[in-house]
């Protein structure tokens, strides 16, 4: 190599082991860097290594486990390894989708943290050439009693709306949970799905040495430096001081980027494209080059800057939002620049692809970083961290001597819980209609979207069940996948793909690592059982504050496809006189139930799950919907059967009632009424269709029972145990969140 090795710039801090530690690198990691480059790294190089080797960017603790996840099926167009995964949804379309966490920034600065979470996941989708058509969010907040919860809720929901509404992508579904376990570490997991013609998908794999590299979008500022590192450490009392590491979003520029990138894609002049997300220019350039087995050389003097005086360190580590890096076909730069100019966006050539597999950065005429590119990406450290089941099992509450509340009192308390009650306060703040595809928006079990110029539709659902995962990280995660899949099937769609966001504590602690590994095993087993591969995902570790970890929280999003979207099913009862039935795979229990949480009782251990029966249930639901036999299907989740019946009565078009007998109703059994955990679906159908539906489920070995009838009277009656006014129940349900926000309690 004729060029001189990079040297320290004037005024730069001295680089040594201590400086490495201050950058979050372990001692052996620092020594490995010296070994790789054969000298002491420059301050810039150290910064670059520290972010690329952070947990957030390198997946160093999770990679070896994630590899075990099933990622293939005849419908998989793109598995893990690109910006997002893709599944063939028919008629020439691929659905590109992924879910990602933005937990740490959202806790520090809820509005911008959540907003930029939405922005980041959108970019992962449209870099694949797909137009984003639907967003979802899974949110976990602390208890309403906690002083910060209302502020965080308002900020996060405002941020998701403020960004999502402004870029023209509908937010069609989501989940929100409140639990004291998240008081000091909220979760914000953002999902996006886009559609692209299967043969027009774009890639993040650089090709062609000599091809120019274009910087596109917003100018680079000092915001977000070390955001990736922040996401790779626990929180403590100093976390408030990390606000400058949270990026600031500009949804208007994002909207321009979406249109410009999709238009630029149609020129055919883009070889590769990647979002400058976590670790910004560094990660996008090194990962694209490494995927192609090539090198890259950039001139940092050409990078558009928001202000003068940024150092190479700052330019390379900035996480300023709404920026993309593009490898173009040589000679066609002007074509691309014309498109971006039309949308009033920067598009500047800042370097080129090389064949020497090195990541070389120039600034002010000298080389400031020169690193083997693979060491930043595929060859980043990989750990097999020790895992051990906790010695002490979760603390069980002593059996309560209090008598169970009456069914009516329990039902009212459950509907009033913010975890069960309506999330309308949240989703009313999101545009769920733009793009004219939303057949079922927020409020039913799964969202349903049509695909224009096709009979087909897709169903989407995001789910998690941290209370179950806290009892058993394997069974809880299996149950989470089953629940998400079942919700999609309730809508009448066949599950075809999964994406996951795995939120856990500090992986350096063996019991957290054990929870994580059990979660991944569960995801693998459930994915195989449903034939729905895991095509993309994200891991968020270090969800701890002052040494207290969140409960294991694998968030699972499922994509389902229906052949005829006009046959989709919702959770709401439709006609008085229809028959209400239950189909289930197991008996419910109070383990990890909302009932147990509210009334402070020990629900006992989780029941086992028979994945073959779960898959049979999904088949039966899809067959019933396709045959037009099922008028409503509602998955029984938080609050159990009686809450589900009430929710099915809350048809937004016209409230209905129900008359149900539960066998032992005289002897009110909280497990029958409010138990959860079992895979149970509440159905309604025309009287004349009972026999056929029953045959269909019986042939699949599933328990099917008629339990009552839909009525026009606005009353919910269960034997002699319960007789309540549905409008009154609905008022409680709709007021659960607003009354807590309004009240001073």
């Amino acid at each position: 190599m004729s060029e001189r090795a990079p040297a320290a710039l004037p005024g730069e801090p001295k680089v040594d082991l201590e400086q490495g530690r201050a950058h979050g690198l372990a001692a052996d990691e620092y020594r490995k860097i010296e070994q790789i480059i054969g000298r002491t790294p420059t301050y810039t190089e150290l910064g670059v290594f520290s972010v690329m080797w952070s947990e957030h960017c390198s997946y160093k603790s999770s990679r070896r486990h994630l590899k075990t996840l099933p990622s293939k099926s005849e419908l998989v167009v793109q598995g893990p390894g690109e910006n997002a995964g893709a599944i063939d949804v028919g008629d020439g379309w691929a659905a590109v989708f992924k879910i990602e966490s933005h937990n740490h920034p959202s806790f520090v600065e809820p509005y911008q943290g959540a907003a930029t979470g939405v922005g980041g996941i959108l970019r992962d989708i449209f870099t694949m050439g797909a137009r984003p058509i639907a967003s979802m969010d899974s949110l976990k907040f602390g208890s309403f009693d906690h002083p910060r919860t209302r502020y965080l809720l308002g900020g996060v929901v405002g941020g998701i709306g403020g960004y999502g509404n402004c870029v023209g992508v509908p937010t069609v579904a989501g989940e929100v949970m409140f639990d004291a376990a998240y008081n000091e570490n909220i979760l914000v997991n953002a999902f996006c799905l886009g559609l692209v013609r299967k043969d027009e998908m774009m890639s993040a794999r650089a090709r062609g040495p000599g091809n120019p590299v274009l910087y596109v979008g917003s100018a680079t500022g000092r915001d977000g430096i070390h955001g990736a590192s922040m996401a790779s450490a626990e929180f403590d009392k100093e976390s408030e001081a990390k606000r400058p590491a949270v990026q600031v979003g500009d949804p208007f520029t994002e909207k321009l980027l979406i249109e410009a990138c999709l238009e630029a894609g149609r020129t055919g002049a883009i070889v590769a494209i990647q979002d400058m997300g976590a670790a910004g220019l560094t990660s996008s350039s090194s990962e694209m080059a490494d995927r192609g087995g090539l090198g890259i050389e950039l001139d940092l003097d050409l990078v558009p800057l928001r202000e003068a005086g940024l150092t190479p360190y700052e330019i390379l580590l900035s996480e300023s939002q709404e920026r993309m890096l593009i490898v173009a076909e040589r000679g066609r730069e002007a074509e691309l620049q014309a498109v971006f100019e039309k949308w009033d966006l920067h598009a500047v050539v800042i370097g080129h692809v090389t064949d020497d597999r090195r990541w070389r950065m120039r600034w002010h005429g000298q080389v400031v970083a020169d690193i083997p590119v693979a060491s930043l990406a595929a060859d980043a450290p990989l750990y097999d961290r020790p895992a051990a089941a906790p010695k002490i099992q979760p603390v069980r509450k002593p059996p309560s001597s209090e008598p169970h509340p009456t069914p009516a009192k329990a039902l009212r308390a459950l509907l009033d819980s913010p975890n069960v009650g309506s999330k309308k306060w949240v989703f009313r703040q999101y545009d769920s209609l733009v793009q004219s595809n939303t057949v079922e928006g927020p409020g039913s079990d799964a969202a349903v979207l049509r695909i224009k110029n096709s009979r087909r539709g897709i169903a989407l659902k995001v789910d998690s069940n941290p209370r179950a995962c806290a009892l058993d990280p394997y069974l809880g995660a299996v149950g989470t996948v089953c629940e998400a899949v079942r919700n999609v099937a309730c809508a009448g769609a066949r599950p075809v793909g999964i994406t996951n966001c795995l939120n856990y504590g500090n992986p350096e602690r063996p019991e957290v690592m054990w929870q994580f590994i059990r979660g991944v095993e569960a995801l693998r087993d459930a994915s195989l059982a449903f034939g729905a591969p895991v095509v993309s995902g994200n891991v968020s570790f270090y969800n701890e504050t002052e040494g207290r970890a969140i409960p294991p929280t694998p968030t699972i999003a499922v994509l389902g496809v229906m052949l005829d979207v006009s046959k989709h099913v919702t959770q709401f009862f439709k006609n008085p006189g229809d028959v209400i039935a239950l189909v289930r795979t197991a008996r419910p229990s109070l383990a990890a139930s909302e009932y147990s949480a509210i009334f402070g009782i020990d629900g006992g251990p989780l029941g086992s799950i028979d994945l073959a029966r779960e898959a049979a249930l999904v088949e039966g639901l899809v067959a019933g919907a396709e045959g037009g036999l099922i008028r409503s299907a509602h998955d029984i989740a938080e609050g159990g059967l009686v809450v589900a019946i009430a929710e099915a009565c809350f048809n937004p078009r016209a409230i209905l009632g129900a008359e149900v007998e539960l066998g032992r109703a005289g002897n009110a059994d909280a497990v029958d009424f409010f138990g959860e955990g079992a895979s149970t679906v509440l159905l309604s159908m025309a009287e004349g269709d009972i026999a056929e539906v029953e045959r269909s489920f019986a042939s699949r070995g599933l328990e099917f029972a008629v339990i009552g009838r839909v009525t026009s009277e606005h009353r919910l009656k269960i034997g002699t145990a319960l007789d309540e006014d549905v409008s009154e129940l609905m008022r409680i349900y709709e007021n659960a969140i607003p009354r807590r926000l309004a009240g001073g309690d």
């Binding site: 403020g162 023209g168 949804p251 909207k255 999101y430 793009q435 004219s436």
Partner: protein
Amino acid sequence: MKWGVVRFPGSLDDGDSLYALADVMGQDARILWHKDTTLGGAECVLLPGGFSYGDYLRTGAIARFSPIMKSVAKFAADGGLVIGTCNGFQILCEAHLLPGALTRNRSLSFICEWVWLRVENAKTPFTRAAKQGDLLRLPIKHGEGLYVAPEDELRQMEERGQVILRYVDSEGRETESANPNGSMRAIAGVANERFNVFGLMPHPEHAVEPMLGGTDGLKIFQSIAGSAR
């Protein structure tokens, strides 16, 4: 009828408006770029919803200065039909092609939901396919839809029949809870004095297909299509 749908940077319902007019209704509709200065022979210009130029300053405040708006203003002055939905309504108010202004919702938050509207004047080019007193069900989705105007002006507008749509409940009654954003006099849509410029906060383009929730938006587009000169 020839329609021009303006695309500002940050427009969001431009594609949906085009889809409703061209794909669902079979009209001759095309996009007009904000940097253009001609309207391509359009007989009706539609300003769509969205956040034109980001709307960071004040909704519609930048869009009114865009090159295409000079042509739209001249077109309106010559009696051409102009309809603005949501952000389009905000832009028309900023451009003084319509009276009044749109400010932040009473709740201070964005609201997306289906609402009921009562047709207050069916003798306009925008509502002639409806009857006075008809109820329409359309979605709203906005953060700044609270309609305000000076009391004198409101009174005159009412007298001239410029208030075209009002928020009501499903029975057609004006109630506090049926007014989603706190608009003065529950006003959801207004016309200018010549009745050739119409702005409304609800989205007729999102109510044109039964599968997506309703078809009442067609009444407005059909009225306009039937008003071709």
